[in-house]
């Protein structure tokens, strides 16, 4: 449980996802997003589609895509909730590297979904994303 010794851990993404992010940053509002926002988006797409994919060893050789210090409390809460839901234990919340490892798997798993969603028509991302969220809201109400 004493994992807090790792100070400001890094968060890694696959090379493929990194390339997707680079491409996304060429379009409109994506230019304004920070790396941690992009990472969170990928995690969400992975989680939404229930897809995880562990990072390869080659993915961790590069420097991290973002770090803990860039994440807000809210971001951490989201990642922890995912990790707790995934493992079914609250203890994982205290193991930040594990929380991030699970998040990295989801982000990696969400690569293709994100890619497809964004690059199908980057200009209409907001419209599509809003409609997706509304659909989820309506499902939640039913």
């Amino acid at each position: 449980m004493q994992t807090k010794a790792i100070k400001d851990p890094q968060i890694f993404v696959s090379q493929e996802l990194r390339k997707v992010f680079d491409d996304m940053k060429k379009y409109g509002e994506f230019k304004t997003l920070e790396n941690k926002d992009l990472f969170m988006l990928a995690v969400l797409f992975g989680y939404l589609n229930g897809k995880t994919k562990p990072l390869g060893s080659q993915d961790k050789t590069e420097s991290g895509f973002t770090r803990e210090r860039y994440l807000s409390d809210k971001d951490n809460a989201i990642l922890k909730a995912i990790a707790i839901a995934e493992t079914g234990t609250i203890d994982i919340a205290d193991d930040v590297p594990k929380v991030y490892a699970i998040a990295e798997k989801y982000a990696n798993g969400g690569t293709n979904y994100l890619k497809e969603f964004v690059f199908d028509d980057p200009a209409s991302f907001t419209k599509k994303y809003a409609s997706l969220l509304k659909e989820l809201c309506s499902k939640r109400n039913t």
Binding site: L44, I78, I84, A85, A93, Y129
Partner: protein
Amino acid sequence: MQSIIIKKIDLINYRQFIKQTIEFNNDSKGNIVIIQGENGFGKSNIYNAINWCFFGVEEHLRSDAHTLPVCNTKIFNKLKPETSTETIVRITLDTPSGEKEIERKHLIYKNKDGKPYVAQNDLNIMEVVGKNWKIAPNPEYIISRILPKNMRHFFFIDGEKLRQLFENIKSDQIKKSIFELSQISLLQNATDHLSYFKNVLRKGIDLKREPDLSQYQEYLDRLQKTILNNKEQLVQLKNEVDEAYINKSKLDQELQELDIEHIKTLETQRRGLEEKINILQKNYEEKEKAFFSDLIRMAPPIIILKAIKSTLNIISDLQQENKLPPTIQQTFLEDLLANMKCICGADLRKEENMSCKKTLEELLEKAKYSDMADDILKLKFELKSLLIEEGKVDDVINKYELSIHEIKDELNASNKRLKEVKTKIGEVDYDKVKTINEDRNNLEKTIGIWLGKIGKLEVTISTDEKKYKEIETLYNKELAKKDKYKIVINKLKFCDHAMAELQKVKEKLMDEIRDEAEKNTQDYFNKLISSKKFSPPRISDNYELIVEKDGFNAVTSLSAAETLCMGYSFMAALRKTSGFLAPIVIDTPLAKIDKKYRLNVAEWLKNALYDAQVILLVTDSEYTKEFRDAILPCVRDEFILKHDKNAETSEVIRHAN
């Protein structure tokens, strides 16, 4: 008396007509010919073609079109440099003196730079002499006997411009119209002939034997030559000034049609709309940006709602089962144990207090988990906040979407309006406005110069005529001294007497004709307009056209329709009074006439112009069923203009009915 009738018009390579023959029906009764067509289909170019053939001018052209050759533009554009093309307008007339064919031909040459110039301008009239067609020797003279060039505006009428022409008509132009149309020039010719005859009489005297007379005669000859030259120049200048005034009126009309004030309003609208669109566009972009970043911010709790709920359930279960470690301050316990002093003050070193020490040590062990408890509580708080946010997401999205939709709608509407305004502005040719203004200024300058010259010439002529009379008196006195020239003296006196009588007759005739023209104008005008708002039109002693209202001349404040009716009345009156038999061609005769007067015009056409061939060039909106039904008994022919937009050509075809 039989009127002059246009039997046929041939247009070859003229404007949008490639090869067109319009042959009027001779068999049917009726005097009215209808040529119907939408704007831009070539009505005005038929009107232009008739004017061009008769007088070499095109009345109804846009100012920029004057620079274009009369031939078809596509044909000209296809010409290779240094080659030429021919444009012909031929009008076949049926006149009381037989058939005549007026043909005007331009040979248009394309120079090396691709620019056109008229290499040859021919006017020929063929006429039937006996059984043969022959070329008439003086075509301009023949045309002037059919219709003098200066009077063409009263026979070949541009309905759109008649108001302008009529508003600007000067009293001396009315006088001149009456003079010319009434053929009083015949009396003037007689006076001129008598003057010439006096010269002949005087030249019969052998001046070598009469040195006293010789000096006077030489002086008189010189003066007469000067006076004649100056009079010719004066006539020419006056004609040019008349033309220039008409052209100036046309330019004014063109400017009026461009409506500068309207353009300014449109420009203001355009600027306002562009500013509004800029602001709306910025608002739209900012809203989209905010929507995007809020979506990014709001999305997680919706997407991971299941995970949040499950985490909160786990935490809640742990809390209910008291499995969550209590919040204990580790440092505080460590301090108590280090000092071996319990919170109650008991010394932990003592044996009897060992149980307290043990309790503190157990609590310290638990405290190692108390950070985790903090984190879990914090996580619970964050997740609950996320759930609250999640509950508001669809509202927020709906608000954004509505607001963006509204901005977009307003933006689209503003863009649409801007496009309309820009189209309207685009239709205005600023170069055209500039060109018209320049042309107008040049015309005004030229008119000013010409009027100055006219004034000088008139003074010179009047002084010379006075001088001529003085010298003539001296001459006559000298001649009277010589008995041998008694017969010549008597003949000269007779000529003077005859000339004075002719002058009286001319003045009397002018008065009579003016009265008749006035009466006819009144008759026609009353038939066209039954309004009692103003007095019947009058032609005053100094040939001013007067329509009195409240004691003032209201001729320039008549409505468009009233002015047009006045113009038609005056034209018909002049025609009737003068006996000129030329056909009447009216382009857009009803364009400015209110519906309520249109049937009056139909009646007037039937009654006032029953003896003239009347060619009406009408738009579809003018030639309504009601109007057609009204004039149908007098309609000889009906034609329709067809236009091929791609080929930019038109053709006139006979109406199916």
